[in-house]
């Protein structure tokens, strides 16, 4: 499987015949073939009539169906899930943006959005596109809180000259810390450890 360099939308798939190439596309794009658009790029037949044959196609999700996997999953999901929730789905440039509302949205936001992020995790396994979920400006509020915390710790490091190590954070949270702190001259950051959750070290550097 080769990523197409011209666009990040379409990818190339190979197979011994068209059916196999489409099957590979189905697996990689997580869509059934009626939801995939494709074009045949090459159909190489080896000289002298040898049986060996390879076909390359370029395939991408059909426009109108990009949000369908998420929508149909969520509709069924919410019919089984005892919480009363509604959702609104929006397509932004490269990802699917999902806003939850409803009487039980408070449960989504408990424990720093634990449930909201759990649903997001599952949706991202299902959707061919990146899914970002939100509810009651959860993202904006969380970002503001992280910014304030980063600024406070950064100030402390600047004053004392001693490094600070923050608690474990996910990549999205760490990104915000890195961005905020690196705007301040004389400070630098690095992520410590490996895995999904890492700590961020904030330390002073000579300017």
């Amino acid at each position: 499987m080769v990523k197409n360099q011209k666009s990040n939308e379409a990818m190339e798939f190979r197979g011994r015949n068209l059916d196999e190439a489409i099957r590979n596309a189905e697996l990689a794009l997580k869509l059934s073939r009626d939801k995939i658009s494709f074009e045949v790029i090459t159909e190489k037949t080896k000289l002298f009539g040898f049986r060996g044959k390879e076909i390359v196609i370029r395939a991408w999700p059909k426009e109108e169906n990009e949000t369908e996997a998420v929508t149909s999953f969520l509709q069924r999901f919410l019919s089984y899930f005892p919480l009363e929730l509604n959702f609104e789905i929006k397509k932004r440039n490269n990802f699917i943006y999902l806003i939850f509302s409803g009487p039980d949205r408070g449960l989504l936001l408990r424990q720093e959005g634990n449930l909201l992020l759990a649903i997001q995790h599952i949706l991202n396994k299902i959707s061919p596109r990146k899914v970002q979920v939100d509810c009651d400006f959860f993202r904006r509020r969380k970002e503001r809180k992280l910014r304030e915390m980063a600024e406070k710790v950064a100030q402390k490091v600047l004053e004392t000259g001693e490094e600070e190590i923050l608690d474990l954070m996910n990549p999205y949270e760490r990104r915000i810390i890195h961005l905020v702190v690196n705007e301040i001259p004389g400070l630098n950051t690095e992520s410590l450890g490996d895995g999904f959750y890492k700590k961020v070290r904030i330390f002073r550097v000579k300017t």
Binding site: P82, A118, H121, G195
Partner: protein, 78 residues
């Protein structure tokens, strides 16, 4: 709740036909046994168990609303 786990599991795996969920009712706790094909085990557990944890979080929230405990057990189908 069985339907919910089945829907999630079937959406995640490569062999949805091999997904099987059974529900065992206790006094306060319901045990949900999720069986998947061995090659799909990783899909429902996820890297560092993140997917399994997400499913458990979803069940936890459902349990909070229904005032019941749901335990998820993931089993390899032999």
């Amino acid at each position: 709740m069985k339907d919910l786990v089945e829907l999630i599991a079937k959406s995640l795996v490569d062999h949805p036909e091999k997904v099987h969920v059974s529900q065992l009712e206790g006094e306060q706790t319901t045990i949900l046994e999720l069986k998947v094909a061995p090659e799909d085990l990783g899909k429902v557990i996820g890297k560092q168990g993140r997917t399994a944890r997400a499913i458990r979080t979803i069940l936890g929230a459902a349990g909070m609303k229904m005032k019941r405990r749901f335990n998820l057990e993931i089993i390899e189908k032999s």
